[in-house]
Symmetry: C2
């Protein structure tokens, strides 16, 4: 991998998307922080970056629908997936101790996931901030003497913060599934990928979704996820996003997709990929 | 209906939840504004209100997952459903004209749904605010001479604002589906309801969801919606919320639910209800 390879993620340096980039794109790569998900997809489509790490679902929060919609809008294939354990830490600038903390900054979902820890410190004021890693940067740069932030260990390292309490989340089963997106399919991915993501629209008939799932069930193909999203301009009709075990190059999955195309309005393969442990 | 009947909704007076209350609960009822969805469910469970209007999905935004989770957490049956067309209006205090507007306040989703209208006015600064109706109240109360807000017609009426431009949303097919929740099922609802909402967890087996849908398909029962949510504590497993046409008191739907109970870990009926046009 050349040094010029650029991997984009959403958030400030030290965001969990950057942690995902470390797993999905090991080796030398330039990391590019983008302010939001539309900007991230746009940067990849417009060749400003070569790859993007995109969170698609979290075990506590659920699906990140904005990214499902963006996968449909852009044609940027999924190359790999990985799961990142979301470990929240309480971080302050050096010299600040647990006893001097009075305010805690972070993104609202991170604050919500550390509710029990925060409730043990009744005197702390909880302040919503636009980004987890960004809240560490802010309290360190502004040299706040009574503030802490909740973010990744990577954010503490990058901005010179000190971890006052580690792994403070309420629920240890807090994982986010990330995709690595590129502009073109990996060469040979159709022979090595083990999981496939597709999107399709059913015909508006009774039993339509059941028929669509039958093309997989009749071939013993396991589904790992189904997600519905509204179809724009057709109130109360839906698009379905489906993940299944298999590779469209192999017999059963290829036949399943062929049958699915017969009975749906449209089908698109979003990617066939391997899971990075 | 007695004058003491109290209907709660989320947001400030003039929110779309209040518009839904007007359709779902015609006649004399005291309207109670609650600051957020957990508080709304809590108020109903704790007998501070008698009914609650709860948005469950929007044709542009998709499902409101927080409320799916709250339907599971509380046992508050769905009594009726209705669809409310979301009509966004540009509102200012009397005396302010289109030409003097420099700032526009509203909730981010409402601002996003009026993007094309706002882009025609390059000089306007767009300012996110926590509530649509609340932004009208704020600009009127603070007598802002150069500000407008985006909200419902009801909000303009309640706070004495003037509509400068009506129905300014990008997409006319903007509807929100609302439930009316109570503490007990309506008497006789099991004979008059035409639609049923359930939640269930599949056994973790290949083809599990397909089997679950088969109990409806084999009986020609139409599904109108399926939604998945993460199962807490069991990463990458899901709960399914399903809406179908039918009444659990009638033969086919009753048999379908009986079969579903056989092959799932749990099933719960969230309500059987009619649609208010």
């Amino acid at each position: 991998m050349s040094k010029q390879t650029r991997v984009g993620f959403q958030g400030e340096r030290g965001a969990f998307g950057e942690v995902a980039a470390g797993k999905l794109m090991p080796g030398e790569a330039e990391l590019v922080a983008l302010p939001n998900f539309p900007a991230l997809f746009q940067a990849l489509a417009g060749r400003k970056i070569d790859y993007a790490t995109v969170p698609i679902e979290n075990t506590l929060y659920g699906s990140i629908h904005e990214n499902y919609d963006l996968l449909l809008k852009h044609r940027l294939p999924i190359l790999y997936e990985t799961n990142v354990r979301i470990v929240h830490n309480l971080i302050a600038r050096p010299g600040v101790s647990l006893r001097t903390v009075r305010k805690v900054y972070s993104q609202p979902p991170a604050l919500g996931q550390c509710r029990r820890f925060l409730e043990r410190h009744k005197k702390w004021e909880v302040v919503p901030y636009y980004d987890t890693a960004g809240s560490v940067r802010m309290i360190v740069e502004q040299r706040l003497p009574d503030a802490a932030a909740i973010a990744s260990k990577a954010a503490a390292t990058i901005y010179g913060g000190r971890i006052l309490a580690k792994d403070i989340g309420d629920d240890p089963e807090n994982y986010t599934r990330f995709f690595l997106l590129g502009r073109r399919r990996l060469e040979g991915s159709h022979s090595t990928g083990t999981k496939t993501s597709i999107v399709f629209a059913t015909r508006n008939l009774p039993g339509a979704l059941f028929r669509c799932l039958s093309v997989f069930a009749l071939r013993d193909i396991s589904l790992s996820k189904i997600e519905s999203r509204p179809l724009r301009g057709r109130p109360w009709e839906y698009l379905f996003y489906l993940d299944f075990q298999g590779n469209p190059a192999s017999g059963p999955a290829r036949n399943a997709l062929k049958s699915l195309a017969e009975i749906t309005e449209f089908v698109r393969v979003l990617g066939c990929y391997s899971t990075i442990p």
